[in-house]
């Protein structure tokens, strides 16, 4: 006759459970302490800049890519032609169509959907690096502005 293997049951003490609950509450509390940074502008030329705004925690870790935008100077005004944000919990892109109308088209085609806010932040900058001439060309062509606005 085969002997059945005895299943070992694990019991957690009430003290351990309370400790885990306390640690979880502390973690959630820390996570909610977000600081929204003031916008920093990185100048690429007299006519191009990237503006970034992020939510960071107390240890200065980026927790949310709030806004990374590519802006161009046209007719003495800075105009955001493309911007990335993750307000809805995932990264997406807003594209401005017209110089006269501030309406934007929102999409997430070809935008990184997985990963952490850290990787979204660097991905958005990389995307602007790869395509900023493309974004600029499309915008200036749509609005019939010669020479890419430079």
């Amino acid at each position: 006759m085969k002997r059945r293997k005895r299943v070992k049951r694990r019991y957690y003490s009430a003290r351990l459970i309370h400790k885990l609950i306390r640690l979880y509450k502390e973690y959630v509390g820390k996570k909610l302490k977000l600081i929204e940074t003031s916008p920093a502008e990185i100048y690429l030329s007299e006519y191009d800049r990237i503006t970034h705004l992020a939510s960071i925690n107390e240890s200065r870790k980026i927790l949310e890519t709030v806004n990374i935008s590519y802006e161009i100077l046209l007719e003495g005004k800075w105009i955001t032609i493309v911007r990335f944000d993750s307000h809805h919990g995932y990264l997406h892109r807003h594209t401005r169509i017209s110089l006269t109308d501030e309406a934007e088209i929102e999409d997430s085609v070809g935008v990184k959907k997985t990963g952490s806010p850290h990787s979204w932040y660097t991905w958005a900058i990389q995307d602007i690096k790869r395509k900023f001439i493309e974004y600029r060309t499309a915008f200036t062509r749509r609005n019939k502005i010669p020479y890419l606005g430079y």
Binding site: T37, S38, P39, A40, E41, I42, Y43, L44, S45, E46, Y47, D48, R49, I50, A54, I56, S59, R60, K61, I62, H118, S119, Y121, T122, I125, Q126, I128, K129, F132, I133, L148, Y150
Partner: protein
Amino acid sequence: MGKKQQAIKNIDLTSKLADYIAVHPEASKKVFASGGSVVPFSATDKELNKANEELVKDLLKEGKNVVKAEETKSKLEPWKFITVPS
């Protein structure tokens, strides 16, 4: 140097800076907390740095707080952040 060429070179530096900021919280403190205008400077490209110095002068004339993000050749401290007095 043309403005387009300057923008292409600066965006290359900016992506390196972003990679660094994302990993080093102390750098993000300096850049984000400044709330000012950041201009990247290359460790090797003197022509670009000359054009960027002109850009810094223009920004100061506009009354902005300017932070120079200087790329270095050091592996321990690849970026230095210098607040330019107005």
